[in-house]
């Protein structure tokens, strides 16, 4: 038998960050250096991470493809696999299959344009990969805007990076928390300087401009996406220039198990990245 497509790479956890309550980031190194050498991926792709004994779970690769030799993933504890993953320590082994799926059309569609990232809560990891990718190739783009919000200050992930982006002259970062999320009784440990309000509202009130030269990448909870899309269209973003990543339930990740398809669109093969123009042609099954 030739290669087993279900066989994962073995990865070692080399760093763990607590991002938010029940949310962690793992930095993973390939156990076999020759596998690391052969490995490459593009922003937007995902993988299946195994907790041996519990099973596999799907998340995007959260690190940038421009940073070689390791990958990062950020996950929130939701089920059996993520519970086991969350209990793992530095030095432990997990499995990774991938990269799977399509990617953001950076060279073809994003070069030379204003890029606006809009993310909510645990929706930042799927675009963080693209954010770093963009920042590492900063001169290829015009303005870079990041609008990121979460329920409370505690729920904001990648706090260190938010600080870093905040300081950069070439990035316009807008952060927000839902009303109340800035209060100490809701776990806020800092004097909150960002906005208070929902992501779509904050986006609408910003000075970010739409138009032909502007691309938006949206990721977050379904309700946030729904309202954000409406605002973006109002701001003059064309449906072809609004991108999101679909998160249907997956098992195999390689177009066999029949779980993730939305009409004839297999999220694991044709997606997860899709623009609004294409998304609107699909049945509402996501």
């Amino acid at each position: 038998m030739s290669e087993n497509v279900y066989k994962p790479f073995l990865m070692e956890i080399v760093d763990i960050k607590e991002e938010a309550p029940n949310t962690k980031t793992f930095k993973l190194n390939f156990k076999k250096p020759e596998e690391a050498k052969k490995f490459s991926f593009k922003a937007g792709q995902f993988g299946l991470y195994s907790a041996f004994g519990s099973g596999e779970s799907t998340f995007c690769i959260a690190s940038s493809p421009t940073r070689k030799d390791y990958i990062e993933c950020t996950f929130r504890i939701a089920g059996r696999v993520t519970t086991q993953l969350a209990n793992m320590n530095i030095g432990d082994t997990l499995g990774f299959r991938g990269p799977y799926g399509n990617s953001f059309p950076i060279e073809e569609k994003f070069y030379g344009k204003n890029i606006t990232f809009v993310a909510g809560g645990i929706g930042l990891p799927p675009v963080r990969c693209l954010i770093w990718n963009t920042l590492d190739l900063r001169d290829k783009f015009k303005d870079v805007n990041i609008v990121y919000g979460a329920r409370t200050y505690q729920d904001l992930v990648y706090k260190n990076e938010l600080n870093e982006w905040e300081k950069r002259e070439d990035v316009n970062l807008i952060t927000t928390v839902d009303p109340g999320g800035e209060k100490p009784e809701n776990g806020c440990t800092v004097d909150w300087k960002g906005h208070v309000g929902f992501v779509p509202t904050v986006l609408e009130e910003s000075n970010i401009k739409g138009g032909k030269d502007s691309v938006a990448i949206v990721c977050g909870p379904p309700i946030m996406i729904k309202f954000t899309l409406a605002i973006l269209e109002k701001m003059g973003f064309s449906p072809e220039n609004i991108y999101t990543t679909l998160e249907n339930k997956m098992k195999c990740g390689i177009g066999k198990c029949g779980r993730c398809n939305v009409g004839n669109f297999y999220v694991c093969k044709h997606g997860p990245v899709i623009n609004l123009a294409d998304l609107s042609k699909l049945p509402q099954e996501y």
Binding site: G55, G79, R80, T83
Partner: protein, 284 residues
Amino acid sequence: MKELIAKAKELLMNKEVDLLIGYQSAGEKKAKPLLIKNPDDADKLVFNEYCLSNLVTYLNRPDIKALSKVAVVAKGCDIRAIVVLLSENQLVREKIFIIGMTCDHVMSPDGTEENIKCSYCKVRNPHLADVVIGAPIDERISKETVVRHEDIEEFNKKTKEEKWNFWKEELSQCIRCYACRQVCPLCYCERCIVDFNNPQWIDTRSNPRGNFAWNIVRALHLSGRCIDCGECERVCPANIPLMLLNRSLQEEAKDKFDWEAGFDPEAQPPLTTFRKEDDEEFIR
């Protein structure tokens, strides 16, 4: 039949119910469920000895539960399921309209002989209904009769090893399609134990461990509740004699608690009630 159709039309026309669940013909010697909202479709309704399905199961379906009132065509044996669902607070009596059908017997699933469950039926005349259709039928046995099943007596003569081998062989055929669960009017859990994976209580694979665990757990969850409609066995695509399991547990409930499920809506089911004089200590 005329009376049934007229009643159905009246209920739908006057908007007394949003949906009516009855039977339609599915060819010669066959009937299948009919779910209608339009009074004009009531002409398709039939009732005959091939109406095997226990339509009460549809009352648990989330989209049907969400309706404000539903009428269901039910034989006495099916009504037993309604009684259990009411006693377990799964149905609101005012939200269902029971069209009770008097019924002498239905046929076996292959249509060749009288269904075995009808030989010991005690509710040929519906015991809980909003309207009863059909002439009264003489009950063949009284409510007090203690029914013994020959096949269980036969089965109990087997040695332990023979029993084990019998079930090993039978359950090896289970493909885990969950038709038994989906058709069962009393399997209404929003999330079935087999759909839990954290922890994974039951192996979901169709292997001996998973198949034994699944079928035995389902039978145990029905102990003292199963109303003997036989739907699980009828729909099983692998022809597994599931009622052998369920009926043995019914006999246990009869012997230990003098209990038969689904007759008296006021009675408290033994496995969900506590009495001071109970033998077991664990609950105190």
